[in-house]
Every structure is written in structure tokens, then in C-alpha cells.
């Protein structure tokens, strides 16, 4: 059976500098169907969406819309060709009315050159009613719930006559009822003959809603499956299918006493009833999907954010709530996820950055000088092999990998007993990645207790002595190093726990 798909991508590639985001992406979307694109974080789904939506331009490969080759220069052209992207966080204009949001850039005029507000209002009402979600056309978009904002975006897509509607993780911020409503709308659009691409991490939704499933991994196409003919286990295998043995060997370290003890930590609406311990010499990994609440738990432990109940102890001593300085005095360190914004003073030099967390200790009579900083900075820069020709090189001039080593160096200089590292290798090239892993492993060997957050399964499986899976703010599964496999970790991260093992 040969037919022309509504939208087709063949062998599309896209690189950002040296980083390949898409290697060889294929996708064929039919009219009147809902097509899921799934894959781990970093599999290239978002890049794919942005290429289709005209935000990025592909480097290579074919992009056909209704059989015709297209090459969008900007989002405007994509839109004009009938492609509409609905982002996870909708992009409305908060000061404009709902009706005007629907008509931005193409507001109708009356005969006398005024905006035809009555018509905009009427059409907005009709559209939102058709979607089953009546929204007052005259109210400001400000203050609409995320779900309602998405409805406005969908209404906008329909009113411009979109043929392809892409939803990029639309359900991530929705409640159960809102997800149902959205799925109802998606089915309605499919039945009207539109092609939908649905990006989601949640298997239950994907299987309930989508007709076809395309799996991506590491920027390339893996397989396309008819939902009816495939099992969840098969999909998980396709998502993770690669050997992870010995990629990141963590050396065996002597595991000692408990250093960090977290008990029943709860922050209402963010995470709930989190309990675990980390012992000296041990690396514990938080696995799970982006948005599962892993970083939030880490921030609460370190005291950047508060929590409602529960307790955190270091070596038996209670850590004060919302007080990072106190946490540091007890020997805690925190290497945040976003090193550019939260980890480094980008315009300061290497030396200043390394000694930042130990300045009080280095200072003499409350005054810090470059001479006091230097020995310590030189020592750590050398031990971490930070590649820089001078200690006064600005942090922003370094590569991502060297920046990360710098942040690590800053915390290692404090000689912590317990260190949290949040996504330590994101955006770092493979060589430096291995070095960061070696460093972390060495730290554990020296008796430091480590809590690592990572969205990359191979990294989790390679580094962790124990894996804790976080899903929707709760620890839902725990695996020992031996028991953890890509399949069971991914399963736990994407499924509500049904059976207690």
C-alpha cells in the first residue's frame, strides 16, 4: 500500500557545534492519526519538534509535507504551511484577551478600519465550545491554568487551519481530569482528519491515545510500531537498547556508616514522604524523568528550598531547614544542575571560583587576597585537570566540561562529607564525562557519601551503588547495583507502582 504521508522526515540531522542532537531521524505521520514520539531525555525529540516547527533548520535530510519538499526558515513559514506546535508551557500573551491571543497577527478588521472585536469574540467562543472548554473570550490570558492555555493554543491551531498539530509533552503539568479532557480533544481532532504528534513520557497515556509509536534513542530513529501490535516491554527495550556494561566503572569503595539520613521529607505538592540514607563511600543515584522532583528533593536537603515536614541529618546531627550555610558547615556540598546560573561566577576567574566556598577559612582577619587563594586554587585546578592556561581565566571562557570540573573543585575544596551532584555530565563531551566519573568514583573511594541525580540511564547504572527511582515526587523503587537493569529502572520511572515487590 503506497500513499503519501501528511508529513515525512527522512535521515534528518542537526548538530549544535560539536554536539549532534539528531543523527538520523525518520518520521512518517499520516492524516487522521495520532503519532507518539517517545525516547529518553536527550533522545532528540525536542530537536525534532523544533525542526518541524521551523525554529531550527536541519543540517541534512529530507523533510516532506504532503509529498512536497519544504525548508522552513522560521516559525512563521511552518505555521503558514499548516504546522502548529503546542509547547509544554504555552506561549500566550498575558496582557491580551483570550480572543486576541487567538487572532494575533491576523485580527479581522471592520469596514471602518477598526478591529472586529465582536467577530473575534464570537469565533473564539465557537472554537472553545467546540473543544468542550468554554473560556471567556474577553478575559486576559494572564492567570489561565496551563490546561486552559493549551486549549487556547489548540483553538488557535484549528482557527489557522493547521493540518499537523504537535504537542510537546502537553500533559506534564496537567491534572488527571485535564489529561482526560486533552485526550478527548486530541481524538476529536484526529477524527477530523488532522495529523497529531504527541510527545510524552507517560506510557499509559501514549498507549491509550496513540495509533503509532516511534521510538528514538540518542538522536536517531529506532523503530515505528503500531500501538495495537506492540507491548510496553518491547518499547522499553527499544528505548534503552544498548549495552551499558563497563561504560562508567565505579571502583569498589568500602561502604561505611550512614552519613546522610533523610526521613519522611515532605514538601506539599512537590515531593512526599522521602526517606533514604547515603553511607560513606557510597554513590546513590536518583533516577527518573525530568520533572519527577529529584532536583527539588536535593535542593530541600541542602537547604536552598524549604520543606514542610521530615528531617535531614548529617552524621547524626540535624541539618537546619532552609539554611545552606549551616548545611555547608556540617560538611554538605551541592553541585547544581545549571552550572552557568547557579554554580559559577561566570565573569570571575578560575581561582576566585574554586575558593569561593572556602573564602572565610582562607581569609586572614576577614580579608581575602589573591595570594591567600592561590595555593588552594592551584592545588585543585591541578588535581581536577582543569584545562586553562592561567588561574585568572574567566570561567565563561572555559568549555562546559572544564566549567563542570571547576564547580566540582569549588566543593571539593570544602572537603565535604556528603556531596550532591545534579546532572554532573549534562552537555559535556564524552572524554570529559569519563573524567568526571573517575573523579566522583575517587571521591567515594576517599569515603565521601555521594548523591547523584542523572537522567542518563547508562550513567546511573554505571555509577550507582544503589538506584532510587523517583516518580512524581516519591521514591517508587530501589535497586541494588546488581539488580538494576535499564528495563526495570525505566519501567519504574514511567509507571505508577502497582505491585509491591
Amino acid at each position: 500500500m503506497t500513499h503519501t504521508p501528511l508529513l515525512e522526515l527522512k535521515g534528518v540531522t542537526k548538530s549544535f557545534g560539536a554536539v549532534a542532537a539528531l543523527v538520523d531521524a525518520d518520521l512518517a505521520l499520516d492524516a487522521g492519526s495520532i503519532h507518539a514520539v517517545i525516547g529518553e531525555n536527550g533522545a532528540g525529540k525536542s530537536t525534532l519538534v523544533k525542526i518541524i516547527g521551523g525554529l531550527y533548520r536541519r543540517d541534512n535530510g529530507e523533510f516532506l509535507l504532503e509529498g512536497e519538499s519544504v525548508d522552513f526558515q522560521n516559525t512563521h513559514e511552518a505555521k503558514a504551511s499548516g504546522i502548529s506546535v503546542i509547547y509544554q508551557e504555552p506561549t500566550l500573551f498575558p496582557d491580551l484577551s483570550v480572543a486576541e491571543n487567538l487572532f494575533v497577527g491576523r485580527q479581522p478588521y471592520t469596514r471602518f478600519g477598526f478591529l472586529d472585536r465582536a467577530r473575534m469574540r464570537r469565533e473564539t467562543r465557537e472554537l472553545t465550545l467546540r473543544l468542550g472548554v468554554p473560556i471567556d473570550p474577553d478575559r486576559e490570558a494572564r492567570g489561565l491554568s496551563i490546561a486552559d492555555q493549551q486549549v487556547v493554543e489548540i483553538a488557535k491551531s484549528i482557527s489557522v487551519g493547521a493540518k499537523v498539530i504537535i504537542m510537546d509533552e502537553p500533559t506534564a503539568a496537567l491534572s488527571g481530569i485535564e489529561v482526560e479532557r486533552l485526550m478527548g480533544i486530541a481524538r476529536q481532532l484526529r477524527d477530523e482528519g488532522k495529523g497529531l504528534i504527541f510527545i510524552s513520557h507517560r506510557f499509559d497515556e501514549v498507549f491509550a491515545l496513540c495509533d503509532v509509536l516511534t521510538v528514538m534513542r540518542d538522536g536517531s530513529y529506532v523503530a515505528t510500531n503500531q500501538t495495537a501490535e506492540v507491548t510496553e516491554d518491547e518499547i522499553i527495550r527499544q528505548m534503552v537498547g544498548r549495552s551499558v556494561e563497563n561504560l562508567f566503572p565505579k571502583e569498589v569503595a568500602e561502604v561505611g556508616d550512614a552519613v546522610l539520613e533523610v526521613e519522611n521529607l515532605t514538601s506539599i505538592g512537590v515531593f512526599e514522604d522521602v526517606s533514604f540514607t547515603v553511607r560513606s563511600g557510597e554513590i546513590v543515584c536518583f533516577a527518573g524523568l525530568v520533572g519527577a522532583g529529584r532536583s527539588e528533593i536535593a535542593r530541600a536537603i541542602f537547604g536552598v528550598d524549604g520543606y514542610d515536614s521530615g528531617s535531614v541529618r548529617i552524621g547524626g546531627a540535624k541539618v537546619a531547614r532552609r539554611n545552606p550555610a549551616a548545611a555547608m558547615r556540617l560538611g554538605m556540598g551541592f553541585v547544581p544542575e545549571d552550572r552557568r546560573k547557579q554554580g559559577l561566577a561566570m565573569t570571575a576567574g578560575v581561582q576566585t571560583n574554586i575558593t569561593m566556598a572556602i573564602r572565610n577559612r582562607l581569609a586572614r582577619f576577614g580579608i581575602i587576597t589573591s595570594r591567600l587563594e592561590e595555593p588552594s586554587a592551584r592545588n585543585w585546578a591541578a588535581r581536577l585537570q582543569v584545562k586553562t592556561n592561567a588561574l585568572d581565566t574567566e570561567a565563561q571562557m572555559l568549555s562546559g566540561g572544564n566549567q563542570q570540573k571547576l564547580v566540582l573543585g569549588k566543593w571539593l575544596a570544602t572537603e565535604p562529607k556528603f556531596l550532591i551532584v545534579d546532572e554532573p555530565t549534562r552537555g559535556i563531551d564524552v572524554g570529559t564525562k569519563a573524567e568526571v566519573h573517575r573523579l566522583l568514583s575517587e571521591l567515594a573511594g576517599n569515603g565521601v557519601a555521594l548523591l547523584m541525580i542523572s537522567s542518563e540511564l547508562p550513567e546511573v547504572l554505571g555509577m550507582a551503588d544503589r538506584v532510587l527511582v523517583v516518580r512524581e515526587g516519591r521514591i517508587t523503587a530501589e535497586f541494588s547495583r546488581e539488580a538494576a537493569t535499564p528495563e526495570n529502572v525505566m519501567y519504574a520511572a514511567t509507571h505508577a507502582p502497582e505491585v509491591a515487590a
Binding site: N74, D95, L96, G105, L115, G132, D136
Partner: protein
Amino acid sequence: MTTTLKLPPIETGRSVFGKIIHAREVGLIVLIIALVAVTTVIQPSFLFSDGGFRELLRQPTILILIALGQAIVIITRNIDLSVGSILCLCTYLSGWLFANVPGIPIPVVVVIGILLGAFLGLINGLLVAFLKVPSLVITLGTLYAYRGIAILWIGPHFIRSSWLPPEYRKLGTMQVFGIPVLLIIVAIVVLLVGWFMTNRRAGRDLYALGSNPEAATLFGLSERRLTLNAFVTSGALAGLGGLVYLSIYATGDAKVGTGYELESVAAAVVGGVAIIGGSGTIWGVALGAFFLATISSALPVLGVPSLWQQSIVGVFIVGAILLDRLLFLNRTLQAKRKGRAL
């Protein structure tokens, strides 16, 4: 399976929102009337003297023009601090043309004056749009740069009323049914700009850009083009302001227009333009400018020591911002309640 959900009809929030949005304009009109009434009771010549009424209506026109341009720029999340310096250059160029090009028709001078303003605005716009430097810094720079050019060019000279053709001088005092012609001209400009900003796509795009620049870019609106438009308009209106200045005062030196940069920001804010962009009406700005200009002419008449006058203007600015904040919080609260009810 399609189940038709029976949904309750939605009540349109127009009454609530309409009230809030219009409260600013109504409030300003009430304030202006009260101010004029009180001042007149204390000092009847404020209104009922030879030039009193004319002065009351004529004097705010310059600030209104400048504030309109300023408001358009602020709506796009920028600011234009160079308007006073632009006004100075346009005033002097116009006067100089009358003096040095004998018989030059008035409309030609008017067009050249406005074009010079637009050109200086274009320079601001290009710098902001292409260098991606915050407009606060860029226009702070051009505030001094343009003023410096004015000082170099004008030096100790000043425009003499003898330079101007008698018809142009008459324009400043001409009245139709007791209303100064200048106010009529400015009112037409306000109507045009207001219509453009509320009823043309190009105007709505400026609001959209200021409301959410990321969304505007995603949407395919050209941030550069819109930023340029806003600054060119602001410059052109400052140029027109310079021409009005010339016809009212028939003089001008290198210091003309100093202080308008902040007064126009104040007028926009009092008129209901949010300093972070995206909202505010042209009608509100015009009334805000009228109000501030009237205060500064009324306070001396009321016998308020000049030391206090600026403080009183300041109180109104802070008051306007507090009012906006309260209205905003109230609106967000109501919107949330509504969102939940649906």
C-alpha cells in the same frame, strides 16, 4: 463515542474588566477637574483671566505628544530617555530653517522637523534592535550625545521670535471656539495614535511583543522591526513636540526639552502604562500627561512652595504604581477564581 457535554453558559467578564480598565481614565478626568476647580476657587484668574483658559489647554500639549511616544516605547518593554534632546534639536532646526531659508513654506519645515525626530529615533532603534543592549543604556547615551550635538551647534545662540513667520507665531495663540488650535491638532494626533494602537495589527503587535517577547518571537513577530517602529514613532512625536514648542514659546536654546525624558515616563506611568510593557492605553497616557502638566501649572498658583512641587508629582507617580499593583493583584486573584470555576 462522542458525548456532548452540556456546559453552563459563560458570563463574559466585560463588566468587571471594562470597569477596571476604564477606571484609570475616569479617575484621571475626575482628578483633572478637581484640580482645576480647587485652583480656580482659590485663584480665579487660573481659569478666568485673559490667557488663563488658553494656557490651561495649550500648555500640556508638548508633554502629551512626548508621552505618547514614550508610552509606545515602554509598551514594547523599552524606554526612550533621549526624547528631550530630540525635541531640542528639532526645535532649533525648525527655527533655523525659518531664519536661513527665506520664504520656506511652513508645511515643509513641519515635515523636516518631524523627519529629523524620526531619524534620531531610528538611530536609537537600530542601536537597541541590533546591538541587543538594553534601551535604558542606549538612550541614556543618546540623551547626552544628542544634547551634545545641540550644544555644539547652537552654542550660546537662541531662536528669536523675529526668525519665525507671523503665521507660525499666530498658530500658537489661534483659537477655534475658544479652544487652542494646538490642542485640536494634538487631540487629532492622540486619536490617530490611539486608533493605531488599539485597532491596527501593527499596534497590537507592539503590545504582544511587550507582553511576552519569547512568545512573540516564537510566533514569528519580528522583534527588530517592532522595536524600530516604536523608537521611530517616539522620535517623530518628539519632533512634532519641538514644533509645538516653537509655536508656543517662539524661542529656544540648547537647553530646551531638558527633563522631558523623565516627565514623559511619569506621564505614561500615571496614565496606566506598565513599566514592564504590554499594557496601558493611549487615552490614559494623554490624560496622565494633561494631569501632570496641569499640576505643575496649578501648584505655584495654589501657593505651594516650589520646593514641594516635585515631591507632590512624585507622590502621584508612586501612587499610580501602587494602584496598578493592587489592581493587578486583584485581577490575578479574580482570574484564578474564575479559572477554577470553569
